[in-house]
Symmetry: C2
Subunit: 245 residues, 2 copies
Amino acid sequence: MNILITNDDGWGAPGIRMLVEEMKKIGHVIVLAPDGARSGFSNAVTATQPITLRKVDHDDRDIEVYVTSGTPSDCIKLAINVVFKGDVSQIDLVVSGVNHGSNAAVNSIYSGTIGACLVAAEHQIPAIGFSIYDNSHEADLTYMRPYLASLTRHLLDEGIRPGTCYNINAPVGEIKGMKWTRQCKSHWEKEMKETPLENGEVGYMLSGYMVNDEPEATDTDEWALSHGYISIQPCSPDMTYYAAL
Amino acid sequence: MNILITNDDGWGAPGIRMLVEEMKKIGHVIVLAPDGARSGFSNAVTATQPITLRKVDHDDRDIEVYVTSGTPSDCIKLAINVVFKGDVSQIDLVVSGVNHGSNAAVNSIYSGTIGACLVAAEHQIPAIGFSIYDNSHEADLTYMRPYLASLTRHLLDEGIRPGTCYNINAPVGEIKGMKWTRQCKSHWEKEMKETPLENGEVGYMLSGYMVNDEPEATDTDEWALSHGYISIQPCSPDMTYYAAL
């Protein structure tokens, strides 16, 4: 079983290192990740310039590691087209993360972690994105560790519907269990903070906080996470809003 | 009525200039667009460095124009937080485009044009993205022109459901009518073309073609566009795959 691992925090991030160790328990791991942080890259692709692809030495000879100057979405495209020479059937699973920072609620539309999963789903490759509900760079990822392989095995055993990926977020602190959830309606406020630029002009830095627009709902990812449950949410690259159609 | 206009091809692109002229017929136009091309930027935001915001002189004094070093999604966030000082209620409509190149089928997940609309929908602002089904830089946009104001008026009169945006694509050539559509299942192939880098190493350039995975279906955007119809598709920032949930 070939498991392709990527993320949006880059190959140097602790989350992906932990994910690699856990996924080794399930199958043969191939890593193809950005060479640095690509937070907030969503499904961005590099359309106007060439990107690099470089094989990296790794202590564990069982693991193949590649890094690219591209985005998380580019990573999946490079893996399919270059590493696997267009033979999508050789990639049994894509796992993305572990992201430090929530990809729940409206954050999922901005997430490079989930973006990579959507590209996998475009190609009918089962995909799972793991994130933790803690935006701090010193976020403690270890308490999610026991769930990575077991949740992945569970979803694989249940059978991942083609074209589906799973957006999995873990709460901070004690984990009470897991919930299937829908995306919570929410929006960001006070997002642009004035910042002086090098040339003396006023620039703007992304900032702010997310507001839950349906705090009473108990079937959302935000509810699950704020009540100590892991949130498991199916997503797909089909953007149609069927309820409105 | 305040209409905020943006795009992912930059303020210099012919599509946005045409859109401004047509939207002037409906309301007061404020443009906030990237300072250059941002194709394939999806919902990417600039998370790690400040962005610029500069007011631009325009011959037509009735129109306010701002450009930024940020992404299409950043444009909506700057408009809300800086130009309108956080008062979302002052933006009655966001219109994005006219994009040269299809944002139908799976392309919509990669689209900066649609990304901007999803940010508007996050904030309950009605939004419409216009694109034409022609990837050439010399694409003739003029035949879409008569539909821009009339379609916008029609959707506003019908009432745009809060949290919804519309992804509108026009076919190439004679327009037979309009269809409400769902997103066609599709995927890209042969996307990474070997390209020599300046340092002599092998790099990869985004390339390839999209394959329709359900060519028999007659309710999709791809069907409408390939049969001469304008495709109108509701989208939302809710990524939950309800059919799988």
